[in-house]
């Protein structure tokens, strides 16, 4: 009997402990986010740091974004064509490709790739900086890591993702054009005119850009928070990197649903 009571007690304890640690992590995350936001103005006094981080997060992510955008646009229009041709509405393939890219696929797939390419690298970098005590060394020299290490990386990611998504979208539409006009023989005039009459600047393009800014913010917060809170061992850093990719990806998909239901209904 006392064994059973003991077991129930243990179960309750582990539940409570897990809940408390989750709440604590959430609180620390919110405080961290707030202090990051406060540190952003200091980035403008060290513009070279920001440029370096835009290079690391944005320019180095270009190859994967270029390839993915081109191929996703091509495959979208190929699949759209096979269905639309049944209703002899194959001119609408351009509209379909452009709308799905601008509204959903560009920000979401771009964000997922960015989380895998730049987010994980950021977590690993910060985690290693901590485990090799570089952050402590900076603090010893009275250099605030928040201003000189975290804030430039944070801002760079928020800037880089929307730019990458723009390039992704443009290349995706171009890929769709290549497949449907050059290969499958859709009329090029109807392709462009239907597209530009259906795609709205404010509704579709700007809303997609707002999405990508939100995703950039999410990825940057998750990656930095995991890096800062990584256990400073090789295993701890590798776990933190994995968590960054998983949490950021799930966060993007969840946030995308929320944003879509607010923007496009």
């Amino acid at each position: 009997m006392s064994l059973l009571v003991n077991k129930v007690q243990n179960l309750l304890q582990s539940l409570g402990k897990g809940f408390l640690s989750n709440v604590e992590a959430f609180g620390r995350g919110s405080l961290f986010m707030w202090s990051l936001l406060l540190a952003i103005p200091s980035v403008f006094f060290r513009f070279d740091l920001l440029l370096k981080q835009i290079y690391v997060a944005g320019v180095l992510s270009l190859p994967i974004i270029l390839m993915a955008g081109l191929f996703i646009g091509m495959v979208l229009s190929l699949q759209g064509y096979t269905i639309l041709v049944k209703f002899s509405a194959e001119e609408a393939v351009g509209t379909m490709t452009a709308l799905s890219l601008l509204r959903e696929i560009g920000p979401v797939v771009g964000g997922l790739l960015f989380a895998g390419r730049a987010g994980s690298a950021l977590t690993a970098e910060i985690g290693l900086m901590r485990s090799t005590e570089q952050i402590s060394a900076l603090e010893m020299m009275a250099v605030d890591p928040l201003k000189f290490v975290y804030a430039p990386r944070f801002l760079a990611m928020i800037i880089a993702l929307p730019l990458l998504v723009l390039i992704f979208n443009a290349l995706g539409v171009f890929g769709g054009y290549l497949v449907s006009v050059s290969w499958l023989g859709v009329d090029s005039g109807a392709f462009w005119s239907q597209m530009s009459s259906e795609v709205d600047w404010r509704e579709d393009v700007v809303n997609g850009m707002i999405k990508s800014v939100a995703f950039g913010f999410l990825i940057a917060i998750v990656a930095l928070f995991q890096g800062v809170n990584a256990i400073p061992t090789s295993e701890g850093v590798s776990n933190a990197t994995t968590r960054t990719v998983v949490h950021a990806s799930l966060g993007i998909l969840g946030l995308d649903f929320v944003l879509t239901s607010v923007m496009f209904t």
Binding site: K52, V59, L62, L163, S196, V199
Partner: protein, 154 residues
Amino acid sequence: MKKQTKVEIWVGAFVLMSLMALVYIAFQVSNFSGLKDKPTYEVSALFDNIGGLKKRASLKMSGVVIGRITAIEIDPVSFKARVHMQIDQAFNELPMDSSVSILTSGLLGDQYVGLDPGGDEEVLEQGSEIEMTQSAMVLEELIGQFLVKFSESD
């Protein structure tokens, strides 16, 4: 110093690329350069039934797009649907007695408003109301009419 220059050049190229992508999306893919920038004037019309007409649907004359539907609301006096439309200022000599009807492009396509010009001397201008309207064809009503006729002829 040299490394920093290289980074700056790459970031510059990156930003330039995304600006080019933005321009491409704005002018080739979306309607950024469309009717919105041109001067327009707004007219309205009362319909008994607008069917499935939506905001942003096009207004066509002889099949050519000359404007857009900007708002649809219920007129509080007559309880009919009031459809507001913007017409491109280039078409500012449409006769006052033009008629509008709600049509469907193709069998399953979107609904749009078609404008048939009349012969009046007076022309439509900002705020004027088109009197002659023809409602959308609602399939259920058509079937209902057909059934009534069918049973009468029996």
